[in-house]
């Protein structure tokens, strides 16, 4: 069966310009292949600069890939004509990281949430009010919120408005790009609970992008771990968080201080920082920070290693049986 969304060797390079000449390329996303089925949440984790947001933009079509394809329900998004593309796009929505910048400050919430209805369902301004009020109810806001401006709401409430907007065109798939990183810790839980509820209720699929492992763990069925534009580990949430195979995933999980485990003294830190994506290290990109790095890691790019049906990692260590 064709999955809902399939990415094939997706690449995005950004030029680094030196005057008029292109002197180098930032390899933000460098060959990512993924697929996600219906009613599934896929979590994407990684440090900042690993290409999470670029991947998000490629999927929703805000950026054109340098190479590779995005298939939605079997259709190659780049080969569609504008009319077909618009039809497909009503099924793909996005919730951005920062609700302060993603809502037009001059529009009433009614029009912010109503815009997709206008574009995709061709409703006129007078006709969509009822539907907007209903949508606001779904995300736990009162009806009269429709007649306020975005600045009158708190961060958590703004993010609810952004979610209502994403739900408006009845999508099958929503991309959540750091949906709770800009809001308060107490509202975070409420938003995450709500997203989980909406997923079951409206049969949605999510891609959840976050640098916060707790957030990803609480919502995802499957997890992708990215490092410098590449996928290093993929598997079910239980497998990736329970028995992480790649040294990078292990390091990420070890970085969270836990009181019961002995607090900060028990934390094993990963030395150094993410290298530049302009000139990524050869071989395995993680070898500069990996404590298990061998000679092979510096020269050859690791190939896929299947730990079991739903768990794979890209690391030479696994090959040699560690």
């Amino acid at each position: 069966m064709e999955p809902l969304l399939r990415l094939v060797e997706l690449k995005k390079y950004f030029p680094v310009k030196n005057g008029m000449r292109v002197s180098a390329w930032v390899k933000a996303v460098d060959g990512v292949s993924l697929s996600i089925g219906q009613k599934v949440t896929l979590g994407v984790v990684g440090e900042s600069g690993c290409g999470k947001t670029t991947l998000a933009n490629l999927i929703v079509g805000l950026e054109q890939p340098t190479a590779g394809q995005v298939y939605f329900e079997g259709l190659d998004m780049q080969k569609l004509n504008p009319v077909e593309l618009k039809k497909v796009r009503s099924n793909i929505q996005i919730v951005f990281q920062d609700p302060f910048w993603s809502l037009n400050p001059r529009w009433l919430v009614r029009d912010v949430v109503g815009e997709p209805l206008k574009v995709h369902l061709r409703l006129k301004q007078g006709e969509y009010v009822e539907r907007v009020e209903q949508l606001l109810g779904t995300v736990g806001l009162p009806k009269d919120a429709a007649y306020k401006y975005p600045h009158e709401f708190s961060g958590g409430q703004k993010q609810r408005i952004a979610i209502a907007r994403a739900l408006a065109s009845k999508p099958k798939f929503i991309l959540l790009d750091e949906p709770v990183s800009a809001i308060d810790i107490v509202s975070q839980v409420q938003i995450l609970d709500m997203l989980q509820g909406l997923k079951d209720e409206m049969e949605l699929s999510y891609i959840l992008i976050s640098h916060d492992l707790e957030v990803v763990n609480s919502l995802s069925d499957f997890i992708v771990v990215m490092y410098l534009g590449k996928v290093v580990e993929y598997g079910s949430a239980a497998a990736v968080f329970g028995t992480p195979a790649h040294p990078y995933t292990q390091a990420l999980l070890d970085s969270i201080p836990k009181q019961e485990a002995g607090g900060i003294d028990a934390v094993k830190t990963l030395e150094g920082e993410v290298p530049s994506a302009i000139n990524p290290p050869g071989g395995c990109r993680f070898h500069t920070r990996c404590k298990y790095a061998m000679g092979k890691c510096e020269t050859e790019e690791p190939t896929i290693f299947k730990l079991d049906n739903q768990h794979e990692a890209w690391c030479w260590l696994l090959e040699s049986g560690h």
């Binding site: 440090e47 900042s48 708190s154 961060g155 958590g156 409430q157 308060d184 810790i185 107490v186 509202s187 975070q188 839980v189 409420q190 609970d193 989980q196 509820g197 640098h211 916060d212 492992l213 707790e214 763990n217 609480s218 390091a251 990420l252 070890d254 970085s255 969270i256 201080p257 836990k258 009181q259 607090g263 900060i264 003294d265 934390v267 830190t269 990963l270 920082e273």
Partner: protein, 324 residues
């Protein structure tokens, strides 16, 4: 023995167009010398305002600071004038700010910014100054101190910038350090590095730290004691162990719950949003509208901190009514 930092009846209000709003109403807070005290609370609880009012960094008006005492090592900071405060800031009390991007000057190299502080506060110059700058950058484990000193803030990554901020804060050997969410917006791996650095330096230099964060789990991993701030009032204080394992105030248990690793997907109890209602008008407990364990007293009087166990204080009528 008296405490190193002692706050008694501190009230901070802000004058706004809609009248005066009370933001901090703290009856007592004391931090012992050499201790790391963690302050948690959601945004809008007044954590940063408290930090700023200890350093008297709030401009007045609009801020109105009143109260009995903010005592640091025996000195009442509330009674000090601006000139005395200038001498205290940096030398005695120092602060690591939340956002490393906006607390460094973008047009000066980090070496310049560090020298500036050292020249003014420690009267260093020439070769000694240069050496000290490099020593400070080395202390915070910045790669290649000599080269780094010549860099501008934008050339550094977020984690490196935060290291520079720590170097700035520690450059004049303060006895007391306020860290206002120093790891916000940092990746988990970098967060772990910075936390380790802070703990390591604290042990080396024996500074007292007030660590502010909104993540209780994080606070509990590095602090000795912790306090929970809710709407400007301290509602629970105690050793990290007893607060984390046995949160008594209904709000604390919600706050700790929100951070738990439950994945069963069942709806967790969480209070409403940080509302804009003016809670300073409430005569009783400030949590009363969201609380699930209301007793008669809650609407009548503001609960004060009462000792419930060894090194564990709670301000809640419901809890103290049950215990006492």
């Amino acid at each position: 023995m008296g405490s190193f930092l002692g706050i008694r009846n501190l009230k901070v209000s802000f004058k706004t167009f809609e009248g005066t709003k009370n933001v901090i109403d703290l009856e007592a807070l004391s931090i012992q010398k050499g201790e790391t005290f963690g302050l948690v609370g959601e945004s809008g609880a007044g954590k940063s305002v408290l930090a700023y009012s200890i350093l008297k960094l709030l401009s007045s008006p609009p801020a109105i600071i009143s109260g009995d005492a903010v005592e640091l090592d025996g000195d009442n900071l509330l009674a000090k004038n601006e000139r005395d405060m200038m001498n205290i800031r940096g030398r005695k009390v120092s602060m690591i700010f939340q956002d490393p991007m906006s607390s460094l000057n973008p047009v000066f190299t980090i070496g310049d910014q560090l020298s500036n502080v050292l020249r003014k506060n420690r009267r260093l110059s020439g070769k000694a100054l240069k050496q000290e700058v490099e020593a400070m950058l080395k202390l915070v484990q910045l790669p290649d101190p000599v080269q780094s000193a010549r860099k501008y803030p934008h050339e550094l990554s977020g984690g490196q910038r935060q290291r520079v901020i720590i170097a700035l804060a520690l450059s004049c050997d303060p006895q007391f350090l306020i860290a206002d969410e120093p790891t916000r917006n940092l990746d988990v791996t970098i967060q772990a590095q910075i936390l380790k650095l802070i703990v390591e330096l604290q042990r080396k230099m024996n500074v007292t730290i007030l660590y502010i964060a909104n993540n209780p789990e994080l606070v509990s991993s590095i602090c000795d004691k912790m306090g929970v701030l809710h709407r400007g009032r301290l509602i629970e204080v105690g050793s990290v162990k007893s607060v984390m394992s046995n949160p008594l105030h209904p709000y604390t248990s919600i706050l700790l719950h929100t951070d738990s690793k439950e994945t069963d997907g069942t709806a967790r109890e969480a209070p409403g949003e940080v509302s804009m209602e003016d809670w300073s008008q409430l005569t009783g407990c400030r949590f009363v509208n969201q609380c699930r364990c209301i007793v008669e007293d809650c609407k009548m009087g503001i609960p004060t901190l009462k000792q419930v166990a060894d090194d564990h204080y709670v301000a809640c009528h419901y809890v103290t009514g049950r215990v006492g």
